[in-house]
Symmetry: D2
Subunit: 247 residues, 4 copies
């Protein structure tokens, strides 16, 4: 545990965000941004129970003022710590309707969370990550983004969701190309399959075959690997899918 | 000239939109949607001078109410004509700034025109195009969208512009996959290079080599080809770039 | 009909190659290379019956000596004509077996026709096409290649077929990037679906829906469009698929 | 160290292959296939010096008989060990010439090593990997392949090299789609940049900036990560490039 640095995760609930937080908490104090306290508090508690440090803030990723306030609070709480890793995992707007039933609100929700939320988050975190580059960090400062199948292809019933995820990928690529040469690692993980989450299981979305849904802990291991890659061999995009998935 | 059908072009100024309008005007009455009358009027005049029919409306593509009003007017003016082709050529938001200087307004402009504008336009035109499928049209009803290099890759200084163009591509693909099987041809033309426009020449953006900028008339020929493709052999995406372009 | 130029099609049988030959024969004398005389002779006869000119040669595309001999014969027959368009449509090696049942011969067949055959063909035709650039041709000299779904993705039972089509695409892209700036248009048409051929119909591969298989004549129109594109707006790759195709 | 399993690396010299061998040797006995003993012997010695186990065989990856003989020898030496990981790292055929100077031999070399060599290797290793699936391996049985920038794009002077690497990618994707659902992880690592090798340094290919060439050890860490991914979250393709690389 190095207390000179910390990691921040936006979009932390019961699935990927939680697992990534717990994985990174083995090495860093953690800041969690979630829509509500009920989302982040159990993770904060788990991290603290395991001997780690964690702060949680209620901040919808698509609300710049809330995001702003959270970053101000972090700076007050941990004035001497530098940002080692920023993970953007906020998701919303999976409308899943025929195109002519989709509404402008569906599109706004998807663009707001996937694209605009990442835009705010990157504007807040990139200056912090850049300032970490020369502060002898244990790993290259990293911005990781959670993508989806819909980051790569539009399809029936997915017009608005794909719009957001495509836009998010565009921003991620642009950031990688601008800030990679300045020493910040920016990567997109394209999750191509259903994730094995508590709420999914409650909804009865059970696995057809064992391990046919992505384990959040397995996703988290790949995020940690991305973060620890040497700067001579950065990955910009990787896909993650269950062995059983058709693709 | 068949007067039972018409084509509509959103985003018609002095470059691609104008050339596409003139090309399609050889076969159809044309509706032009532009930000201002000064954009569409010269095209309307040229089409009429050549013996064609044209209507123009001032309607910013990212303003749903204005778009709505224009479609209402078209339905009143030409109640018996069916929509044969809809071309979405509106462009905006090429901010071209380092990421940390880009503003939320830059992102909104790009998403608003490239993605949300296409979303409105498709919601207005798709029902009309679907109703044309069984009305014995001369060619399969078609929705064409103008993309750019930034539809395919994010890059330095292009984060917001690419976000809009990626999102636009996602919507276009989703439309193609949903409405192709219903008989509507949806395609994206990815313009990969500078276009030889009057305003470009005025700005001094001259060609380094002859034909090293895309001629709007050449682009228009490919749009017309896409429109006239037999439904057994639809193209979903094609690139267009000058012979001299590195890619 | 201009008799100063000609077009050559490698891989001309009863489907795409035949349709492309007939389409280009409206404007150019045609040379056909096929595995056997029984493949090219009916096309030669049809072109001549329609008032065009045609020569046919038996030359397996993967046999350099046979290809060489055919080009020597063309140069003797038509010493003063320049090559306007070269179309590589040879296909072979669709083994369609589980990977562990595929043989080295299956791989050799696919690589031999899709990749090595194109390599020979391009080495023969590119110098001719380059010499046409400044000979005032009616359209930019063009090399067109017929790709397939397997040009873009490997899949179960398609390992060897995809290997050949991927390699073919690599060569096509490399040619486009090297010779585009010298004025030769190189493009790949990715045929994504079954083609409506006489032999397919004989095998009982009938259309589920009307136009659910690509019409060779429709493919040929897009090839002709590619050939006639202005050099300021070349397409490098386009897909062609039936309206009804899932993709 | 588990002695029930082993890993095999084809194409082991002084760069990536060596580093991958040393990394995997921390967990498995290692088999090395190289063009000559002078390539594999130093690695064998280093692994043994570090307390590991290693066997080396001279076998050109594009020579089926030699590859066959090596696998027979391995089966005799280690009859009770199962294959945990197979890495295909053989490279050849980077001709780097203008297209019209490339020879059929250049193309054969590239296709022979990148595509046909992988084909043989996969036909030898896949049955072994499949038999490991239910033998309680420490990680999912894995086939890893070393790709390059030219796996994704053809370019000037790279026609033959790209042909081989594209074909290799096609085979890798086909294998992933066929054998993933059977529990074998197949992945392609796309190395997009120069590698910092001893022979490169001897040739004076020094780094412009520190870490502007990929460190073989950094590549090896990502290979190890791919091998240890849980089967619910397999990566099929990842890119690896220096932070300083334009892409």
């Amino acid at each position: 545990m190095t207390s000179k640095f910390y990691a921040i995760i936006s979009g932390a609930g019961s699935g990927t965000g939680r697992a990534v937080a717990l994985r990174f908490a083995k090495s860093y104090p953690i800041v969690l941004l979630s829509r509500s306290q009920s989302s982040y508090q159990p993770i904060v508690d788990d991290i603290r129970a395991a001997g780690g440090q964690a702060l949680g803030f209620a901040a919808d990723a698509s609300d710049p003022a809330a995001v702003d306030a959270a970053f101000t609070s972090v700076a007050k709480e941990w004035p001497d710590r530098r940002l080692a890793a920023a993970i953007y995992n906020a998701n919303a707007g999976f409308a899943n309707k025929p195109f002519l039933e989709l509404t402008e609100a569906d599109l706004d929700t998807s663009l707001g969370t996937a694209a605009k939320g990442l835009f705010y988050f990157a504007q807040k975190t990139m200056p912090l990550l850049l300032s970490t580059v020369n502060a002898d960090p244990p790993n290259p400062p990293t911005l990781l983004v959670t993508g989806a199948t819909a980051s790569l292809r539009g399809s029936v019933r997915f017009a608005t969701f794909a719009a957001g995820k495509f836009a998010q990928r565009a921003i991620t690529q642009s950031l990688a190309r601008e800030f990679g040469p300045q020493g910040v690692h920016v990567a997109l993980a394209i999750i191509d399959g259903g994730i094995d989450t508590p709420w999914g299981r409650e909804l009865g979305l059970v696995e057809v075959t064992k391990d046919s849904k992505l384990k959040p802990e397995a996703i988290a291991e790949s995020y940690w690997h991305l973060h620890t890659q040497h700067r001579s061999a950065f990955t910009q995009e990787l896909d993650l899918r269950p062995f059983s998935e058709k693709f």
